[in-house]
Subunit: 142 residues, 2 copies
């Protein structure tokens, strides 16, 4: 497994207030914002900070998590999701949710590390990182 | 304030077990590991995952934090630490710890966002990010 965080997702009770803080007050440009659901903020080369509404966050991993965050590790195919998930479990991680289709069109599994932090291993066909580190989510342009 | 995460620090109860998982089992190369204190793992272009022993983590911000993580935003000078800390507070963040000297030789302040997540605004004179994104901590080589 390559050492790489694609998205740091934080569980937030008031998504509107959190989004207002980062976008309206600090002036950060969202990559994607779905009111009531999620706000994605680019925070580095190929790295995104996700603010995830608490209800959606709790539903996503299929069970309550010990910590209010997930670390997403995006890979290039569903087979890689399976392989990395297996690798993390074989290394001593705890399977939280076996890889399966996601509502957003991809495929993902969840594994907790020994300290209780949860990784989301994901394949998102719409996730692209340009050579300069700019992240895009959306259909590939013609 | 530039949208950038330099270090994602996680509070861990058993640093040795967490380090063993990432370094010995998954094979990640630590940037720096101080047994009983902290393990820093590069996880992207200019981005580091910090595993911080719970006692040290709790002492660092000066008071217990709502969430078991901090988001470090490294800047180039002490004046920038002051400026960014002020900006985050003016935007609606809560000052957790006013900027001050750090035990590791730098200067840092702590501000919580409206969702309760704590940023550490830091100047670490030993922190360097190469053009290819490789992070180094230590004295500049001759």
């Amino acid at each position: 497994m390559e050492p790489r965080i694609s998205i740091l997702t934080l569980r937030v009770d008031d998504l509107e207030a959190a989004t207002r803080y980062y976008v309206d007050e600090l002036g950060w440009q969202p990559l994607l914002a779905v009111p009531g659901e999620v706000t994605f903020l680019p925070v580095g080369h190929g790295v995104v900070l996700g603010l995830f509404d608490a209800r959606g966050f709790d539903a996503d991993a299929g069970r309550p998590l010990a910590a209010p965050l997930t670390l997403a590790h995006n890979v290039g195919s569903e087979a890689e999701v399976d392989a990395v998930t297996d690798e993390m479990v074989a290394a001593g991680g705890t399977l939280v949710r076996a890889p399966a289709r996601a509502s957003w069109g991809g495929y993902h599994g969840f594994v907790e590390d020994p300290a209780g932090y949860c990784w989301e291993i994901a394949h998102n066909p719409a996730w692209r990182v340009a050579p300069d580190g700019t992240v895009a989510i959306g259909p590939v342009e013609a």
